[in-house]
């Protein structure tokens, strides 16, 4: 391999995330023998790898949306709450009880829906998108710091979700709804296709039109972008709206996966996971250059770490401590100061023999 292409490879935003993912996979290869076994049951693909993709789908979606927001030098803390809102809206529309009136349990568990499924999905996504618009307006028009503006919805959002579901954990019994999170298409999880669809859409919009360039420009310097004739306000609004939309889909997937809508727990801490996925993907929190693919790899790293922890028998909640350590190491690897320290150590070693 020539030296030039190696440097080119190393400078790519994808390089370090992929290395990290490879390291985790290597760890799995050594310590968890059946991690890579795939088997076909009833025409579906099963195995830990498929699990990583299936369980990681909501996180990947959030990471795509979050990348856009972070690229504009913002952050969206409300995605978890938005997930809960969209899941709550969907469950309320499906459940004939509408979360309010008491009905007999035999009727409650019937495999029917009060609203056609396409309306359910449309409304849930519309509500989530609206949440995104709200965030976008606060950030772009009211000029509130992104972290603070979205914090409001993060705090209030779960309350709103509770309001929608009337404080109940609504269980869904309508089986076609389960397809979103549990279904298989061509032997692969349906969620994979959703992620692919959203990713392709985002990729085409940012890399095949000028929007991506605008986003990066706004992220690097909003006011100079404004003076260059870019409508920075609308770019920001668009990023937050898209992030809300992605969170909406993620909410649908999660609620369909667990067959219920729990306003308190759906998407809990997922905003943190999403931000970490983006940061691991090498997109700087200060905005600017971004890579959707790297964020997806970041999400896979987080999900693979989690799945690995489960496979090793670490309790679900305790796994987050190890996840935190992994994340911290990755972030330190990105830090210029850390690289300097590391670089000077290596250099010294190189100088000593002479």
């Amino acid at each position: 391999m020539s030296k030039l292409s190696w440097k080119h490879l190393r400078d790519s935003q994808l390089f370090w995330p992929v290395v990290a993912l490879a390291l985790i996979m290597l760890f799995n290869l050594i310590f968890i023998p059946d991690f890579f076994t795939l088997e076909i049951k009833d025409g579906h693909l099963f195995g830990s790898m498929v699990d990583v993709i299936n369980r990681g789908a909501p996180l990947m979606l959030l990471a795509i949306g979050m990348t856009m927001v972070i690229a504009t030098a913002g952050v969206d803390l409300s995605v978890g709450a938005v997930m809960a809102i969209s899941a709550g809206a969907a469950a309320v529309l499906i459940n004939p009880a509408l979360g309010k009136t008491l009905i007999g349990s035999d009727k409650l568990v019937e495999d029917i829906t009060a609203t056609p499924l396409w309306v359910v999905i449309l409304v849930a996504l519309a509500v989530a998108t609206l949440c995104g618009v709200w965030n976008g307006l606060l950030v772009s028009r009211a000029n509130i710091q992104p972290m603070v503006a979205t914090l409001v919805l993060m705090v209030a959002g779960r309350g709103i979700a509770q309001l929608i579901t009337n404080g109940q954990i609504i269980t869904v019994y309508y089986s076609p709804y389960f397809f979103i999170g549990n279904g298989y298409l061509l032997g692969l999880p349906f969620t994979l296709f959703i992620v692919l669809g959203v990713f392709l859409f985002a990729w085409l919009m940012t890399r095949r039109t000028a929007i991506g360039l605008f986003v990066e420009s706004v992220g690097i310097n909003a006011s100079s972008s404004f003076f260059s004739g870019i409508n920075e306000k609308n770019i920001k609004l668009m990023a937050y709206t898209f992030c809300g939309f992605c969170a909406g889909i993620a909410g649908l997937i999660v609620s369909s996966n667990v067959k219920s809508a729990d306003a308190n727990n759906i998407g809990l801490f997922s905003e943190l996971d999403a931000i970490l996925a983006v940061v691991i993907g090498g997109t700087l929190m200060s905005g600017g250059r971004f890579s959707l693919m790297a964020s997806i790899v970041g999400a896979l790293i987080i999900q693979a770490t989690t799945t690995t922890m489960y496979a090793l028998g670490v309790p679900a909640m305790a796994a987050s401590a190890i996840k935190a350590m992994v994340v911290l190491i990755v972030i330190l690897l990105y830090s210029e100061q850390f690289k300097d320290v590391l670089g000077s150590v290596i250099e010294r070693k190189g100088v000593q023999p002479s």
């Binding site: 943190l272 987050s320 996840k323």
Partner: protein, 363 residues
């Protein structure tokens, strides 16, 4: 004798105090139960741990950072202390200092990473939060009841105040408040915190100990979170990893409602107390109302935070304009080129004596 005129910078603080008074007056008129002085003191009793955490958070936010790990550190303290007391049979005299040391150490590590590796506070404390929450479940998956006699005695002890009573927790919180106010307004550390929040670059150029102060701020926040954790475990007499869920949000909201600006450099520890009281008041009002469900608390706190941030940013914008105009005017006098990029460090760091006077007139 100077004519009494409300300083511009005290307006947000006054707004918070007035809002709290109005809110409480409304409650007292509506519900008889709230007229009892005990109901007022209960605001402190139920939020003592939140007050302690929020004070730590105030320093962090004043320095222009954020600490998302506080709720998790509280949970970790409750679990770790419960485990050490109950399962290991250690004495509280060892456990409490150990916990405080642990909190301070966690904060110091996070602060060092933030400062020396220039990683965003948001990310580092986020990792810290995950770490602390996870550690809780490494220690124990279940809730542990604390039956230690010392904790029980402290929990049950009541100090009479004008016919009502307060537990020791409140005393701890108030002592912390007074020390924090002294730290913020009468020491070099406090002034450096304000200066860093105003403009870190200028603070550095002024020769202030930026590195030390920044690490100390997070250490203080970690220490106070651990203290809040001890207060919380005395309050609940149990330790569980899911305790104090989302408390960091309540703490941030309290600080913001208390008039501290999230961009750093502007705000008062004293205001944070009222921020905490308002959060508590919302809960109490919704509880007394009985019809509204408890999740309205979250919505109300969220909206209130939004309003305060909105007012602050409008306020800051007009203040910035005035400042720019005065800077421009001054420069024009000297015949210099007007530079609109001038960022002055927070004025509040220099006008301590006025704050002193304000506090005196309010005590």
């Amino acid at each position: 004798m100077r004519k009494f005129k409300i300083e511009r910078k005290f307006v947000p603080l006054l707004a918070t105090i007035i809002l709290f008074s109005l809110g409480y007056a409304y409650g007292a008129i509506q519900y008889e139960g709230m007229r009892d002085p005990q109901a007022f003191l209960n605001l402190f009793t139920d939020n003592a741990f939140l007050l302690i955490t929020s004070i730590g958070m105030t320093f962090v936010i004043l320095s222009g950072g954020i600490d998302l790990s506080v709720g998790a550190v509280i949970a970790l303290t409750t679990v770790a202390s419960a485990h050490l007391l109950e399962k290991e049979g250690l004495s509280p005299a060892i456990v409490i200092p150990l916990m405080l040391l642990m909190g301070a150490a966690l904060g110091a590590v996070m602060g060092s990473i933030i400062h020396f590796f220039k990683v965003q506070p948001f990310i580092v404390t986020l990792a810290g939060m995950f770490f602390a929450r996870g550690m809780c479940f490494f220690i124990s998956l279940e809730a542990i009841t604390i039956s230690d006699p010392f904790y029980r005695t402290v929990a049950l002890y009541r100090i009479p105040v004008f016919g009502s009573f307060i537990p020791i927790n409140v005393v701890i919180a108030l002592v912390v408040l007074v020390i924090a106010m002294y730290l913020a307004h009468f020491t070099q550390f406090g002034r450096t915190v304000y200066a860093i929040g105003g403009n870190e670059q200028s603070a550095l150029l002024m020769g202030l100990p930026v590195a030390r102060t920044k690490v100390l701020v997070y250490t203080l926040s970690g220490f106070l979170s651990a203290l809040a954790g001890i207060v919380y475990s005395i309050y609940l007499l149990s330790g569980y990893g899911l305790n104090a869920m989302m408390l960091e949000l309540d703490a941030i909201a309290s600080v913001v409602i208390g008039g501290t600006q999230l961009i750093g450099g502007v705000g008062y520890v004293f205001g944070t107390m009222f921020g905490v009281l308002i959060t508590g008041l919302i809960q109490v009002l919704i509880m007394f109302n009985g019809e509204l469900s408890s999740w309205w608390t979250r919505i109300a706190i969220g909206l209130l935070t939004l309003i305060f941030i909105g007012v602050q940013s409008a306020f800051a914008a007009s203040g910035e304009k005035r400042r720019k105009i005065t800077v421009a005017a001054r420069k024009k006098e000297k015949g210099e080129v007007v530079d609109y990029q001038v960022k002055s460090i927070s004025f509040s760091s220099m006008e301590e004596t006025e704050f002193e006077a304000f506090i005196r007139s309010n005590w």
